[in-house]
Every structure is written in structure tokens, then in C-alpha cells.
């Protein structure tokens, strides 16, 4: 496969054969070598062959092999002759990250670290199996699918300001619950307000370094040592079922002949099936927003209980990592409405975009990039250049570098817990084996991922936070 260097940290696979456009990879030489070790680049080429693709098939610095589309893949399609693909969104629809800032300083919580984590562990269900805490009716679930985080706020979980500081205001308006199967609803009913397992986590952290004081100030990040909270989870079994259902429906409708990977199955965006998937996906997105809204509320409750107040616990932002959205972008000099697929990628809009809340419109959108378990996470700010470079997108995390199986052989959860404890980081989980699978050593270097993002201009560094207490589902 020909890979041409365009510039520092920018590489291209030229258009060839069935590719309708070139593929472009934003990566350091070292991260690119890792990506070459799996099917990432082949998958990026396959995406470049899909009907209606605009500009290029983009690959973010943290990319690794996915299903059909790579994880860390961004592709936008014409609304008229382009497609929408469940494989371009992923199984965990609106897997994403929410960040809260607080007025607490590291010193305020040092003595209460263990208690805070124990209480969070008690109040926020991991939700393995059906053990959620909310007993929902189907009617209420359908309301949540339409209203998203707004339903949670109406029901006492959080504030209107949280909604303003959530991508899409915490609700995709095109959502329609009628396309969801009985199974999707059944999986969704017991799991609302649960974290899930795998790479999902809840952390309280402290700000370790501020790179851009102006943007940091705008995001409510004032000082080194300031305590923050990060919640990483998605739409749980409901979203997984929506993806599964529509992959099957699209296969049955279109067949799979000619697809190099059945997970690339798709439907024309404007077709009845394409629209039904889009509206169902929006419903799953809303479920995930409501999920994170409820969890954030419980975390505030725990802080209030353990520390005596939820001082200044305002939401910084909530971003989607797996989503397809209709957005305006400039293609060939003209503004166009496109269906932008971000699979394991974060929207990274620069100043002035109407989608950004007024409080941030002057500086740009907060971009939240979680690191692997027990390591640093980053807050970046979206840029104008990103709109030209990647339809306003950047990385979403560290990206795995080692298989779960291998991690399980190499690491022990209890050992990781003890090592982190020596660094002053508390860790709790429902499973030590699960902790071993998520060992930081099994992930790419998140520092290098954000460095590439900053250097290329996909998203600029604002602050680095490090964990103090970690709950892994």
C-alpha cells in the first residue's frame, strides 16, 4: 500500500482503484507504525470507496482496527447520493465523555479519597447484568429516547446549564423510538444510569498542567490542583442492539455482495431504511446523554455528602465519540450539508460555530480525550483548521495497542491497584481481571496522540488532568 508523507504528522494513501477519494492519516511516524500493524489503513481505504464520500477518508492519531470503519475514522457523505452506515458509528452509539469541574482543590479531598470512591462505587451501578437502580416503564424509556438528557434534568438529575454544555444540548431532535426493536428496549430498560464495563470508567482527577490559560479559564479550569470529574460511558446494550439490528436489516435489504467486510453494510442516507437507522441511532444517542446526565448527578450527590457540598461542580462539556450527524462543511469552496460519521473520534469545532454553547463560542469547543486507566487525560479546544482538515474532528483516547487476551496474560488487576495506590491513585472495580484487560500498558501513549492533534491543529492543548480516584465498571 502506498503511503505518502504530506507533511509532519500528515500522511496520505493516494486515490487508487475503487477509491473515490484519497485517505488521509494524521499520525506521528511511531503511531503510524502501530496502525500499520493491524487493518486500520485497509479499512480507511475501504471507507474511501463508499458512495457519496466527500473530500477524504480521515484517520485520527489514535486509530486502530475496527469493524468496517477503523476506530478513529472520520468520513462525511453527501446527503443526496451518499450513505449512512452503522459500522461508521460503531456498536456503542454515543459512547462519550462528560467532564465536571469543581471548586475543590486536591488538598481538600486527600483525606476523603477512599470514602469518595467507595460512595461513588455504591451509588453508580456498573450495571453488569441487569442490576440497574432505575425501574423504568417502556413508556418512560421511549420518552427518554426522544428527550435525552433533558428528560433527566426534568426529573431532577442536574441543571439546565448541564444541557447547554452538552453536545447537541443533550438531545438529537431527529430521534424516533419507533424504529427500535423490542430487544433494544428490553436491553435498555434495566441499564439506564449504569456505567458498563470494558474501557468505561468514572474518575475524579486533579489538574496537573494548564497549557492555554485563556481557554482553560473559559472552561472553568482555573488552577493546577483543581479537582475535576470525568465520566466515560455510552448507550449500553440498547445502542449495541440498534447497531446489530440495522446491520442485519441493511444486509437483508441490500445484500453483502462486493463488500470486503460485511460491517461496511450501509443504506443511502435519504432512503427509508437509512433514515430509520439515523433516527434510531439518534434515539440511542439520547439514551447515552441521559445515562451520563444521571451518573453526573449521582457524583455531585456523593461529593455533597462526603465533602459537605458540591461546590462549583459545573459541567465543562459532554462529547460524543461514536456518532453520525448532519453538519455544514465547506467542500470545493461551497458550504454543504453532510452526514459526518465519527467512529472513535471527537468533534472539534473552532470558535464561532453555532453548535457550540454561547459561553464557549469565542474560544472553541471543549474536546475531552480520556487516557487509559490510571493515566493522564486531556482537555483540548477545537479549531477552525480542524474543519478543513478533518470535518472538525480529532482523536478520542489512547487507543488500544495490545489485545485484551495478551493484557490478561501480562498484567494482574490487584498488582495494578497496588501500583496505582503507591502513586496516590485509588482504584476500584467489579473485576480485577477486567482491570488487567484495561491496563495502561495495553494502550497507546495518549501523550503522543494529543501532541499530534495539537501539532497538526486538529485540536489544541488546554490542560492535562491526572486521576486521583478511578472506578472501572
Amino acid at each position: 500500500m502506498e503511503i505518502r508523507k504530506v507533511d509532519d504528522n500528515i500522511w496520505e494513501i493516494p486515490r487508487d482503484g475503487a477509491m473515490r477519494v484519497a485517505a488521509r492519516i494524521y499520525s506521528s511516524a511511531r503511531l503510524l507504525e502501530q496502525a500499520k500493524g493491524d487493518l486500520t489503513l485497509t479499512q480507511a481505504r475501504n471507507v474511501a470507496c463508499l458512495p457519496g464520500i466527500q473530500r477524504m477518508s480521515y484517520v485520527m492519531p489514535d486509530a486502530h482496527q475496527g469493524y468496517g470503519f477503523p476506530i478513529g475514522g472520520v468520513a462525511a457523505f453527501d446527503l443526496g447520493d451518499g450513505i449512512i452506515s452503522p459500522g461508521g458509528v460503531g456498536y456503542d452509539i454515543n459512547c462519550g465523555v462528560r467532564m465536571l469541574r469543581t471548586d475543590f482543590h486536591d488538598a481538600d479531598i486527600t483525606a476523603k479519597r477512599k470514602e469518595l470512591l467507595a460512595e461513588i462505587f455504591k451509588d453508580v451501578p456498573a450495571g453488569v447484568g441487569k442490576g440497574g437502580v432505575t425501574k423504568l416503564s417502556r413508556g418512560v424509556l421511549k420518552e427518554i429516547l426522544v428527550k435525552g438528557a433533558a428528560w433527566a434534568v426534568e426529573n431532577g438529575y442536574g441543571t439546565g446549564e448541564d444541557l447547554e454544555r452538552t453536545e447537541e444540548g443533550g438531545r438529537m431532535a431527529e430521534a424516533d423510538a419507533s424504529g427500535l426493536s423490542e430487544r433494544a428496549l428490553e436491553r435498555g430498560l434495566p441499564q439506564l444510569g449504569t456505567l458498563g464495563a470494558g474501557n468505561h470508567f468514572l474518575e475524579f482527577q486533579k489538574v496537573q498542567e494548564i497549557y492555554d490559560p485563556v481557554a482553560a479559564k473559559a472552561f472553568g479550569l482555573d488552577d493546577v490542583g483543581q479537582v475535576t470529574v470525568m465520566i466515560h460511558c455510552g448507550s449500553r446494550g440498547l445502542g449495541h442492539q440498534v447497531a446489530t439490528d440495522f446491520i442485519e436489516q441493511m444486509e437483508n435489504a441490500q445484500g453483502t455482495a462486493g463488500l470486503p467486510d460485511r460491517e461496511l453494510v450501509n443504506a443511502p442516507f435519504k432512503s427509508e431504511l437509512g433514515q430509520r437507522y439515523y433516527r434510531s441511532m439518534c434515539a440511542a444517542v439520547n439514551y447515552a446523554f441521559a445515562n451520563r446526565q444521571m451518573i453526573a448527578h449521582w457524583v455531585r450527590d456523593v461529593f455533597a455528602r462526603v465533602l459537605g457540598s458540591a461546590r462549583g461542580m459545573r459541567q465543562v462539556y459532554d462529547v460524543c465519540h461514536n456518532v453520525a450527524k448532519v453538519e455544514s462543511h465547506v467542500v470545493g469552496g461551497a458550504e454543504k450539508r453532510l452526514c459526518v460519521h465519527r467512529k472513535g473520534a471527537t468533534r472539534s469545532f473552532g470558535p464561532g460555530r453555532p453548535e457550540i454553547p454561547p459561553a464557549y463560542r469565542g474560544v472553541g469547543q471543549p474536546v475531552i480525550i480520556p487516557g487509559s486507566m490510571g493515566t493522564a487525560s486531556y482537555i483540548l479546544v477545537g479549531t477552525k483548521e480542524a474543519e478543513e482538515l478533518s470535518f472538525g474532528s480529532t482523536a478520542h483516547g489512547a487507543g488500544r495497542a495490545m489485545s485484551r487476551h495478551e493484557a490478561l496474560k501480562r498484567f494482574r488487576g490487584e498488582q495494578i491497584r497496588d501500583d496505582l495506590a503507591r502513586q496516590g491513585i485509588e482504584l476500584r472495580s467489579t473485576s480485577w481481571k477486567g482491570v488487567a484487560e484495561e491496563a495502561a500498558g495495553a494502550y497507546k501513549d495518549v501523550d503522543e496522540v494529543v501532541r499530534v492533534s495539537h501539532a497538526v491543529g486538529l485540536g489544541r492543548l488546554v490542560a492535562r488532568v491526572v486521576p486521583v480516584g478511578v472506578m472501572k465498571g
Partner: protein
Amino acid sequence: MRWFGSPSGLARDGPPGRLGYNGAMPRYEILPHPADGKFRAYGPTLAEAFANAALATASLMWDWTTVQPRIAVSVRVSGQDREQLLVKFLNELVYLFETRDLVLAAAEDVRIATRDGAWTLEAVFRGDDLAAGYEVYGLVKAATYNEMEIAENGGFVLQVVVDM
């Protein structure tokens, strides 16, 4: 439309029978995968290979060898080809775990039939209630078609990647 590379990443022009079956094979093998769960399940018949694929999937979430087969649940799935049948069969396991807390110990009485191009499968899942105290160390979100291979060569080999 011409696509690039081998979609599965497996060398298609490798030695014949690379995915062949022999009686000495284990029920399944977990394979390296950068992010998710990948395995090959083996069986002298398609039905046995399917049953072993269910165990391989379960092994990514809990230790099925320790699970008491106290509960039996009948499952029935259909598909337009063997691949779809396999995805739906494995997703049944995920669905029953999430909605009924069924922790699988074995897939028994697997019967696979094909008629007029459509495939159906009937089986009995045996296992236990999660509340009995099993450690769940991973969650499979869904079975996928990524890198899926169904090879028939003196028996059956099923290669599957599940999203985790």
C-alpha cells in the same frame, strides 16, 4: 467494484487447509486482536463448532467452566446465510445475559437446518443466574462479521471477532 487487500486479513492464498479441522483440536482458541475478542471455534460438525463458539464468547466474559448448569433456555434463530446465523446465535447469548442474567455454561442440542437458502438453528443454553456470584470480567457488546471465516475442511472452523 474492486476492493483492496484481504478483507479478513487472513492470507487467502496461504496453504490449503490452513483453517482445516482435525479431531485433536481444542473447542476454541482465543486469538490476538488489537482491541476486541477474536477466536476460532472448532468442531467435527457445524453444530458442534457453533456450540464451541458460544463457549468461546462466554469465556471472554466469565469462566464458563465454573458455571453450574442449573437453568435451561431454548433458543431459536434464523439467518440468510451461515454467517448471519452465527452472529445471531452468539448475540442470543449476550441478550440472555443482559436481560435475564443468564451466565452460560454450555450450548447443547444444537441443531442447524437449511431450507430454500434460509438457515435456522435451535439449541438449549444451560447456565446459571449471575446472582449466584460469578465474576464477570468483560462485556461483549455484539458479535460482528469482521474477519469472520467459516471453513469446512474435515470438520468446521469458525473465526469470529466480537466487539468488547
